[in-house]
């Protein structure tokens, strides 16, 4: 699905042998979109697509980061806690130094918090699931400490500029959507074509083999968490921009939606397998389903049932298709 497709002993072998199982998720996405196109007059409109991508921005950024984490063999449950702290910090910096400084500050703080999370997990050797869960509680606590539990907002005269990320930009998409798409593309290329990406797969696929190949496994994990922190801060920035404010409880639980999107896309939670386009497909499926429920005026209470079933199907398929071959 990704990089070196070397056919050495049999040069005649087709280079891009398309495996239907590999792309099942895309067919699923297309099927849902086709269904909605045929059953609503509003799905296939520019306006709705602008809407779709805007809705996908937050989960999309978190899922892009979660893909890196999961492929490298770790989870980051602290991502939305980092999101909240960096959004709050961004608002506070905005109040003192202006909007641009606020955004930059938010990103720096996000990356710093991510680094701290990574150092904590790598340094303590605690299982990443538990480690980042603990860190997320600490960060949420920190958010309450610095806000006193209140909502923070930029000054009214800053609000227009602060809402930059909701403005239409490229192809009419909101700036937030464009940021998400750009970040997904960049991280996708990192994973696909860079030595760092290769090392992420190796570390997640077999930590000991990676170590014995001279890879600094701890450094890779810290870097992945730092990127996750950066993406969280971007998501926080967009969310705060949209709401015009930030508060300690923002985006609680969305980190799990992001992991769900990654898994639905077909990236193995065991690490060492997967791709960025899969996370994007997973995010779009979740978003399109939610969009469809709205357009069809279906009872949105069933939406969660559908999402849950989808996750189960995706994971079961993962178990069936990626089962390890005997030696």
């Amino acid at each position: 699905m990704t990089t070196a497709s070397v056919a050495v002993s049999k040069p005649a072998e087709k280079k891009f042998k398309i495996n239907i199982k590999d792309f099942g998720i895309l067919f699923g996405l297309i099927a849902i979109m086709l269904f909605l196109t045929l059953n609503t007059g509003t799905f296939l409109t520019g306006r709705n697509f602008i809407n779709l991508f805007d809705q996908a921005a937050i989960v999309g950024l978190l899922a892009a980061a979660a893909t890196l984490c999961i492929i490298s063999g770790v989870f980051d449950l602290s991502s939305t806690a980092t999101l909240a702290v960096s959004a709050i910090a961004g608002v506070m910096i905005t109040q003192h130094f202006g909007v641009a400084a606020g955004f930059i500050g938010a990103l720096l703080i996000g990356a710093a918090l991510g680094t701290v999370t990574g150092l904590t997990v790598v340094g303590t050797k605690v299982n990443s699931f538990i480690g980042t869960l603990a860190v997320s509680i600490i960060y949420r606590g920190l958010a309450i400490v610095i806000t006193g539990g209140a909502i923070v907002a930029p000054f009214p005269e800053q609000l227009f500029a602060f809402q930059t990320w909701t403005w239409p930009s490229l192809f009419g998409l909101t700036a937030g959507s464009v940021l998400m798409l750009a970040m997904t593309a960049v991280l996708g290329i990192v994973l696909w074509r860079t030595t760092f990406g290769r090392r992420i797969y190796a570390v997640g696929g077999n930590l000991e083999a990676a170590r014995l190949s001279g890879i600094r496994t701890g450094t890779i994990h810290v870097a992945v968490y730092a990127i996750s922190g950066l993406c969280s801060a971007m998501a926080g920035m967009i969310l705060a921009s949209r709401a015009g404010s930030a508060q300690p409880a923002m985006a609680i639980g969305v980190e799990l939606t992001a992991i769900a999107a990654v898994v639905i896309g077909g990236t193995s939670i065991l690490g060492g397998q997967g791709a960025m386009w899969r996370a994007f497909a997973g995010v779009m499926i979740l978003t399109v389903i939610s969009n469809g429920f709205n357009l069809l005026h279906w009872d949105t209470t069933y939406q969660q049932v559908v999402t849950g079933v989808l996750i189960l199907v995706a994971v079961a398929a993962d178990g069936l298709f990626f089962r390890k071959a005997p030696r």
């Binding site: 050495v8 074509r193 001279g214 060492g272």
Partner: protein, 507 residues
């Protein structure tokens, strides 16, 4: 006793163990045949030894009997009646129990709970441990083991844990015990006790089928012996009349002669490339030796003697507490794998699956992994260049089927060759290989041996670790024997198997 008999299947309740016949058993993994048309039968109450080199298919045959692996072809019959064994529970219900090298015990539970695992006496689901305790006491009487039923299994020494396995099998009414290398992990006293227990069990009508590497031990114990070679049945004969030498002859066949190529002598005046000085870690003590350019040094010894750990310490992978390694006179930074690699050391580790390969990734990515930075531009992999070098190295070590799919899909031999290829992309000054041909077929084995000799001929200093004595002796210019973390003896390549074996064992 009541419980045991209630739960023991009818035909096993008979006093005698069944006669076991396997016929035409075959098993393949991908492209490599592990067992081919193996037929043999074992009489009731017999102690039967299955011998062969590593990879001969002994363990696979036992696992098929134990239901851990399903055969592709052939049948297993008990007293002439074919039985279907597709899972461990099938075997157990026929009275066959498999005791593997990796014990299948639950470390957090007590001895008693493990022995009656899943079949605890109960009344309406309430456990009746007193009844189990009584049954346990009877089992201890029968076997002569001395075990505390309340001890937590995870805290027991390995010898006692193995006794728990045996009791577990007996508690399930096993009439046929299949044991895979039962003495490999035991000390002398435990070993002697186990052999006595096996004799007692056989006397009371239990059949024991045993896989072991220890020739003298097997000959002193078994009634009959079967030799497998490369997955094929060679002979089944009475043990009396066989000597360790005659067995080795059967196990190795004539293949050994052409398997290991002629190794050219080390050129006079070849300079020292590798030097370990007083290398000490938690597993090895005060290891000092040198390897010259073009020389192959073999490290022999029993499993756990510190051979692999010497390599890991020299490679910077195991924490070194004292001593150092010099490559071409430059001292490497201790505990830094990266510095070891930079200095020109390459390590082909013992276990492909655990230490060597990223099984979920394609072969080319695995081959490229250790030298990624050599072919990168601003952090990007130079795909074209990578394809070129990977494909040329793959051709030169003859890896078949390098493609996009996970390397897990390739045969063991091709995986092993990929592991070599990975370190040959940038030719190392020192090549350390640990069990270079474990679990690969004969053809791949010959190719890997050829590769090692060829590298040495080009001036690489090579260190070979292998459990196959013939391999170490045949491949090396000199041999160091290790025991309990130290080098205890040195031989040249004319050393006999016996000399090396003798120094490897504590006498």
């Amino acid at each position: 006793m009541a419980t045991q008999q209630l739960e023991t299947p009818e035909h096993v309740r008979a006093d005698r163990a069944p006669e076991i016949t396997v016929s035409g058993i075959g098993k393949r993994y991908g492209s490599s045949t592990v067992l081919h048309d193996v037929t043999l039968s074992v009489a009731p109450g017999e102690i039967h030894g299955i011998m062969g080199e590593n990879g001969a298919g002994k363990s696979t045959l036992l696992k098929i009997l134990g239901g851990a692996i399903v055969a592709d072809a052939g049948t297993v019959s008990l007293n002439g009646r074919p039985v279907r064994i597709t899972a461990p529970r099938d075997s157990i219900s026929h009275g066959i129990s498999l005791i593997s090298q990796e014990l299948a015990l639950i470390p957090g539970l007590s001895v008693l709970e493990n022995v009656f695992l899943g079949r605890w006496s109960n009344t309406a689901s309430l456990l009746r441990s007193r009844k189990d305790a009584a049954h346990f006491a009877r089992l201890l009487d029968e076997t002569g083991f001395d075990l505390d039923p309340r001890a937590i299994v995870g805290t027991l020494p390995i010898g006692q844990a193995q006794q728990v396995e045996i009791l577990k099998a007996l508690a399930r009414g096993a009439k046929v015990l299949c044991m895979d290398e039962p003495t490999a992990v035991l000390n002398e006293a435990d070993k002697a006790q186990l052999l006595q227990v096996i004799r007692n069990l056989a006397r009371t009508g239990t059949t024991v089928i045993l896989v072991s590497h220890y020739l003298e031990e097997v000959l002193g114990l078994v009634d009959r012996v079967t030799v497998l070679r490369d997955g094929r049945h060679i002979v089944t004969e009475d043990a009396t009349g066989h000597t360790p030498e005659s067995l080795v002859g059967l196990m190795v066949g004539r293949e050994i002669d052409f398997l290991i190529p002629e190794i050219p002598p080390v050129p006079a005046g070849a300079k020292t490339v590798f030097e370990a000085v007083g290398l000490t870690s938690t597993k090895v003590k005060d290891i000092s030796f040198t390897v010259r350019a073009g020389e192959i040094l073999g490290l022999a010894g029993l499993v756990g003697s510190g051979r692999s750990e010497t390599l890991l310490a020299a490679f910077g992978a195991d924490r070194v507490t004292a001593g150092y390694v010099e490559i071409n006179g430059r001292r490497t930074r201790p505990n830094s794998i990266r510095d070891a690699i930079a200095a020109g050391i390459a390590l082909v580790p013992e276990s492909r699956k655990e230490q060597g390969l990223v099984m979920s990734r394609p072969a080319p990515e695995n081959i490229a992994l250790a030298t990624l930075s050599d072919r990168s531009l601003f952090g990007f992999v130079r795909i074209g260049r990578e394809k070129a070098v990977v494909s040329s190295i793959s051709q030169s070590v003859d890896i078949r089927g390098v493609r996009q799919g996970p390397i897990a899909d390739l045969s063991g031999g091709n995986q092993q060759k990929a592991l070599f290829a990975k370190w040959l992309l940038s030719p190392p000054a020192v090549l350390m290989v640990d069990e270079p041909t474990r679990g690969v077929d004969i053809a791949a084995k010959a190719l890997i041996h050829g590769l090692i000799v060829e590298l040495a001929a080009k001036g690489t200093a090579v260190i070979v670790v292998s459990s196959e004595l013939e391999e170490v002796i045949g491949l090396s210019h000199r041999i160091h024997v290790m025991r309990q973390g130290r080098i205890v003896a040195e031989f040249d390549r004319n050393a006999s198997r016996d000399e090396v074996m003798t120094s490897a064992f504590l006498k």
